[in-house]
Symmetry: D2
Subunit: 319 residues, 4 copies
């Protein structure tokens, strides 16, 4: 489904179910896609950080994207992460994603190397020139260790390089300033880049981002409770901010699962992604909750904690 | 004016006007207090980071606090920053603040030294034991380079050490999680610490913080436009989130002044505080816009930029 | 040439000459290998950070390694960087490197994702289990944003996972502590892991590292002046520390080239790698000094600066 | 004892013994001074980070400095740390230090606030103008969170603002580049600032720093074993680098005490300073090993570990 208007709404970063050998479980993945679309989401983001993209081989990435595109079957747009260190490598992923039927691309600034604003600009421009798909900038300093400046995003929006921004920077004030520069919550349609789409990855402050004028959200825990985020989004669109905030609070309580795995034992990625996948397994959506090696798996105790949070949020486990 | 209920509303961190020799200009400071209270603010925070507290000698700090307390004359509560590296030094500031009539204290975690959660807890507990005034924790990692964890804040709220939190961490998601743990936007009065006051220092997302359940805001640029933040606060309290967001956007446009001074020439503190003080001078509230040495002063060109922003925000300069 | 003893000496991270279209210039690369081996180096490190590995496609990486292995023809050991985000992807590079004839592998901790000591340990163990070549841990926080702890390195050395460490952490004190734990400068042969090889990437303090008991050095600017580093190494081995320090000082003066490109215009990687490649071009060793896209190319003025430094260091340009 | 020549040699940052109520134990402090001078040190640095200066009130700081100056009685120069957030506050400490008889001052860049190279330069120039004592720049990013650039240090050395540098940045490569710019290990006497003194705070790589051309060292653990550092220094001065390195290795083994306190329980400052003070108590030099509140005290188990390390280093405890 091509992007005919600015992307908006709830666009979860789809988890990648793995089997116990670490291979992509396409049956579970298709079920997860159905769960998400059934929950009313407005788009899907495959191969984002939440998909464990950094842990997947190129072949596995292709399997994931193909499965998501096929399962989605045009019902909502599919964005594809093209995550790699620098331009030449990212272009290869982008070509593959285009071939597999992605509707848009999501790329970060270069990483591993020490980069620069001018180089990041060149990077996005080259990507856009090489592969003819709407391009989203993925601002995720916690992963790439540089921050996209508002000036850079605006420049690349205005010259048509970028179709949108996926902001996972956690810098809500900076995002707000960008939105104001682009015309503000009500004036963006008449601003310098009316078609530019702003999606927040800050899943705990979605009501706030929508109030500020963001177009949508890419919530990791939206894998577990897509309907919750859809309700939040619709309340916000209807101007019922109190209801939106209340739904957000319920989702925040659910989100506590990300700390299920103790810091002494595993990385924060293992804990958060492990909790999402455990929840999906407990809900009967995927078959195995394992995260990719070398992440540490959640203990039974941690899984029980996830189970309790699901129950408390009105999402009773089926196993 | 003692804190009989949780502090709420707009509590600007009062700027410290200096004369051209770098001494505290008490006449201008009293005028600024009048400007703020006249603007409808609900409290004043003297000797915060925005006051250039780090640049003031102990004697100057006392002059500032005395002036603010006297000029306020009990109309609103006066919070006093007690900013120093560790407990023994902070206790001295706290005793002085109590003597000078502060209604509450605002203290950071230890800095300069490498500290630890257990040590920070001890620090706040000792402060509370030594000086009998409501104590706010000031979470400002950009200055002290450690972050107060939600667990620590909650522990110190529950045991009565802290009366509130001034959150300048920029971590809106984390703040939201804390609020939810304390009972959420509607349930905090029935939560574990009903009297605990949460003030955000994130002045660009105040509507969002109030929607999330914060009690108030400590906005640096509230020095320049207190009425704007009061309108924002009142709109939020009335549940008119669209009006709140609109007012927030106007304030964000005004906030662009913080970048008036080029990065090549001066620190971000010099630029931001210089712009606030220049604006106050242009509005006729204080006599001299200088910041404390060794900060670099704004150029005439930068001041012209501030002037233009004031005009655009409906605050015409008088000089 | 297999590693029959702990790797030692000067092991430059071989630059990757590109042509003006950005493709690997294998003729120039073979000439560079000849230049290095002719300079007396003790090993070659292909596909390290200095090779712009993060900018090369898998196909280009294979071309580079094949060229280096063939040009080297067994005269010195060839180490191959296997740089990618996590284990599954790194294993693929490692298999390819083994097939292409590398004598050892050099791998970093996982990056892009948020990792953990236990996960890093699993990562190296899996790598070692999957590909039967000596494995060096590459400690480079500036690129991967985590630091290998001394305890972890020691554990992986003692259990036979690691054959050595390439330390580019800049933490000379930490490296020194590790060496002492392993038996110290004189006792390492009788310590817990007598065969473990420690190479420093801190090319400005090589005399110090050798004095401390390191086995060798991986100097980026050793591409330009391999003989200089060989002289430094030999002076150190002969116990003539004054001569070693003097040679080190000459190399530090030459190293000033890394700042040839202004910070306002380009990243530090572009400037440093651009200066090395410009120097190699000026010396007639490679045909084109370009760095990989999207790095910014050095201006003529910057190249002139490089040229002056070469001349001053007794390495007169031939063009 | 005034500084008639560039300061050189071993200049320990004197610990501040406290009694069990947290007050300065001047008797123990005087004994510590005797221990250090008896160990052959070339100067003393009072009120440095190791002295817990950040934990001492102004009155306590004065007591410390007075005690050190009196106990030293002109036998070696006494440097005084003047540690505070910005210029006006630092000038007050500097005046007090001058009055109390310090021979030189040691000041950091501004902290707590966000500063800038131009502001740091102004800061040091004003300090030098206000108080007529040799001024050392204290480069300690771990405490003040900015790094002094080599260009800035050189500029302030050349214009006579700075008499020296105390480098605790851990950036050995950067320090080496600075030394080379100043004429190198042999040529500094004929370089642009022949009298400029460079002291390293990197106590684990002192042999290396001296080989590089540094003038001396400020070793925290030199409180415990001053003679060891003096032997190291003398071996280096005699060109016996092997002996220097061997002594350095012994001191590194002793240094392991800094990790005596577990990370889960206390900050790294508490652990390191607690271990030094415990060692001094075990050696009979000071009466109480407590660190200042709110630092956590070492457990008996941790103290036993310190005791074992002392014994292993040939420094048998007397209690």
């Amino acid at each position: 489904m091509s992007l005919t208007a600015p992307l908006h709404g709830v666009v979860p970063p789809v988890c990648t179910p793995l089997d116990s050998r670490g291979e992509v479980d396409t049956t579970s993945l298709a079920r997860l896609v159905e769960h998400l679309i059934g929950g009313g989401v407005h788009g899907l983001f495959a191969l984002g950080s939440t998909s464990e993209v950094a842990y997947l081989t190129d072949e596995q990435r292709a399997t994931v994207l193909e499965t998501v595109v096929n399962a989605t079957d045009g019902r909502v747009p599919v964005l594809a992460g093209v995550i790699d260190t620098t331009t030449a490598r990212v272009v290869e992923h982008a070509r593959s994603a285009a071939q597999l039927g992605a509707d848009a691309l999501v790329a970060t600034a270069p990483f591993y190397t020490r980069t620069h604003g001018k180089e990041i600009a060149g990077h996005f421009r080259r990507l856009h020139a090489e592969v003819d798909l709407p391009l989203f900038a993925y601002d995720i300093p916690v992963a790439v260790h540089s921050k996209l400046s508002a000036a850079l995003v605006r420049e690349l929006a205005e010259d048509g390089t970028l179709a949108g921004l996926k902001d996972s920077s956690g810098d809500e004030g900076g995002l707000r300033r960008l939105i104001v520069e682009l015309g503000g919550r009500e004036g963006r349609a008449h601003g310098p880049v009316p078609e530019f789409s702003i999606l927040t990855g800050s899943e705990l402050t979605v009501d706030a981002a929508l109030l500020a004028g963001a177009d949508g959200v890419v919530p990791g825990i939206g894998n577990v409770d897509p309907s919750g985020y859809v309700r939040l989004y619709e309340a916000a669109r209807a101007g019922d901010w109190t209801r939106a905030a209340k739904e957000q609070e319920r989702l925040i309580e659910l989100f506590a699962m990300v700390d299920a795995g103790p810091e002494a034992d595993m990385g924060r990625s293992s804990s958060a992604l492990g909790s999402f996948k455990s929840a999906l397994r407990l809900l009967g959506i995927i078959d195995c909750g394992d995260t990719a090696f070398p992440q540490i798996q959640l203990s039974a105790e941690s899984v029980a904690l996830v189970s309790g949070l699901l129950r408390a949020a009105g999402l009773p486990p089926v196993r």
